[in-house]
Amino acid sequence: MKKGKALLEVKGLRVAVAGNEILKGVDLTIRDGEVHAIMGPNGSGKSTLAQVLAGHPAYTVLAGTAQYEGKDLLDMKPEERARAGVFLAFQYPVEVRGITNSYFLRSALNALRRERGEPELDPIDFLQVLEAKLKSIGWDDSMMNRPVNEGFSGGEKKRNEILQLAVLEPRLAILDETDSGLDIDALRTVAEAVNQLRNPKRAFLIVTHYQRLLNYITPDVVHVLADGRIVRSGGPELAQELEAKGYDWLRDGVMVS
């Protein structure tokens, strides 16, 4: 595989939440356009890695670095990371009462546009952008005038995250267990949209417990995270192997790196 420029370079990252060390030294390099999958058993630190990269305030970085486009990612506020092109699709998208999805998304997009020195979009211009995006991923606008995630089904919430990804056009999209709680049809819908959004300028970090999402989104690299460390990395076939063997073998200390 032809190697692009390093977009994200994580070295020796150690992270604690509420005094417990969850990540115990993570090294990870993601280049432009690459799709990386992080797999691992419950409690291995997958979601922590996703959240800490997005800047969740509950996590404390104990040691290590994360360079994003050559900048110190860990020194940036969550909104600064978003404006620099980092996007986290939440495992549990949050309900926001009283704010419509379309108003929220326009506020977010305008925040990014301001950062890039582009003019803000008024509601009418935004609607055009939105409709183009919806069309490109084959969805309708039924979720747009409802309050953000309020009363959404599990599938709608996850789709809404992907829609935000489509509109905000990040350079690094982190998907935190986007497949959890989805039935097979919803999973396929989401995966197809993600595939539409793949391009050489956009990298993905896909955090998942199950291999099935990777049947639809083929990763370039698969990492196995166990007990706060990446214990093995490989190609897509590693996901198949995990599916066949489960995660138990990791706990037995049989690590091959």
């Binding site: 997005a54 800047g55 969740h56 305030p57 506020k77 969550p78 909104e79 990371r81 978003a82 404006r83 996007f87 986290l88 939440f90 998208p93 949050v94 309900e95 926001v96 009462r97 009283g98 704010i99 929220f104 506020s107 977010a108 925040a111 990014l112 950062e115 309050p147 935000q164 905000l168």
Partner: protein, 434 residues
């Protein structure tokens, strides 16, 4: 003592200004004042007043309002009007009807001052006045009844549809010489299968001290519908005590919206009775308080018949040292089977000195019913803050947006678009939101 002072004022008024009233009205008034004098002002030992002290009212002396020496201009009151969207408008200044500021139309719907209705064709007034808002254990309602004289009277006959809202505007122009009290009394009667919407607004042009003690009775016949909007934008130094009592018939619908922005101390008792089967009630309220404002909403939804639905939503946004009190009593009477009742009260505390009390009270005497309630009191949800920030929105903007959303959720349910836009603007200004 203020009680004696008010009783004295009543007797002076009854023997002079109100001496020509018909006997039935005199009886109502006399009953009102004697009940008030027996009850006196409520105190915090009483369950219904646990969180609200009316001492600032009881310990002051208020004079019965007189007509303002000069009426405000239409331009001055424009911010409170819904010009393009009103079919009728009644404006009251210091509790007195101001025809020159009002807008009347002869369309078969009676929208007139209560004094006029009492003088002309009192039958419908007599049939309904004081039949719904109980004074027995409510001193302020009793006091209002003692001084029944003026207010709005609306009567929409059977099957009539009033396409645009009817606006009732109560303006206080107290002047600086003395503190005044007004007792507006409103009666809204919607006959069967009729439809109307009403906007009842209380406001002041200057930040003066005064006391509004209003009572509104709303009667909705079988198959009728009313969208009732009540806006309390009193002066930030005013006292506002009010009761809204609704009574609805079979298969009728009431959407009752209420917002409280003003007043140093405000108390609003909202009582609703679903008297016939198949009725629908939406009770939708917002209180937005700052400084040392205190607002108490005391709501009672009485499911007296079967197959009725009620949805109650109250949101409070509390800043500074303000205090919001919400009591949500829901009664499901024996036989009111298939009742579907939902209640939520969410309070957002924007400062560590703000305080909210939320008390659901469910009294269910039927077995085949669905009743749910939930209440929250707390600061902005940190998860929502992070969610917004992770999309590029600054923390400051995220806070304002989330706070705005709290209010917008309530405003979004209101039917009158122009009013919704006006209130939305006020909320945005108050929160310095985007």
């Amino acid at each position: 003592m203020a009680v004696e002072h008010l009783v004295g004022a009543y007797h002076a008024w009854a023997s002079n200004g109100a001496a020509n009233a018909p006997a039935w009205l005199k009886t109502l008034r006399d009953t009102g004042i004697s009940r008030f004098s027996e009850l006196g002002f409520p105190n915090m030992k009483q369950e219904a007043w646990r969180f609200t002290s009316v001492a600032p009212i009881a310990e002051s002396s208020f004079e019965l309002a007189k007509p303002a020496s000069a009426l405000p201009s239409l331009e001055a009151i424009a911010p409170f009007l819904l010009d393009d969207e009103t079919s009728h408008r009644l404006v009251f200044v210091n509790g007195f009807f101001a025809p020159s500021l009002s807008l009347l139309s002869a369309d078969g719907v009676r929208v007139e001052s209560l004094a006029q209705a009492l003088a002309d064709r009192p039958e419908i007034v007599q049939a309904h006045l004081c039949k719904y808002a109980a004074s027995q254990d409510r001193p302020f309602c009793a006091l209002n009844t003692a001084f029944v004289r003026e207010g709005a009277f609306v009567h929409v006959p059977a099957k009539a549809v009033v396409p645009k809202p009817i606006q009732l505007l109560f303006l206080a122009v107290p002047g600086k010489s003395q503190q005044i009290v007004m007792h507006p009394r409103n009666l809204v009667v919607i006959d069967r299968e009729a439809r109307a919407s009403v906007v009842e607004t209380y406001a002041a042009l200057e930040p003066e001290v005064y006391w509004t003690n209003s009572v509104t009775e709303v009667v909705v016949g079988d198959g009728a519908r009313i969208d009732y909007h009540r806006v309390q934008r009193e002066s930030a130094r005013a006292y506002h005590v009010a009761a809204t009592q609704t009574h609805q018939g079979r298969d009728s619908t009431i959407h009752l919206h209420t917002v409280a922005f003003g007043g140093a101390l405000s108390r609003h008792d909202i009582g609703t009775v679903l008297a016939g089967p198949g009725g629908t009630l939406i009770l939708n309220g917002l209180y937005l308080l700052a400084g040392r404002q205190h607002a108490d909403h005391h709501t009672t939804i009485d499911h007296a018949a079967d197959h009725c639905e009620s949805h109650e939503y109250f949101n409070g946004v509390l800043d500074g040292h303000s205090r919001g009190v919400f009591t949500g009593r829901i009664i499901v009477r024996p036989g009111a089977q298939k009742t579907d009742s939902k209640q939520t009260n969410n309070n957002l505390l924007l400062s560590t000195d703000a305080h909210a009390d939320s008390q659901p009270q469910l009294e269910i005497y039927a077995d085949d019913v669905k009743c749910t309630h939930g209440s929250t009191v707390g600061p902005l949800d940190p998860r929502a803050l992070f969610y917004m920030r992770s999309r590029g929105i600054t923390e400051d903007q995220a806070r304002r947006l989330l706070t705005y959303g709290f209010a917008a959720e309530i405003l979004g349910r209101m039917e009158v678009a122009l009013l919704r836009a006006q209130l939305d603007r006020i909320v945005r200004d108050r929160l310095a939101a985007v």
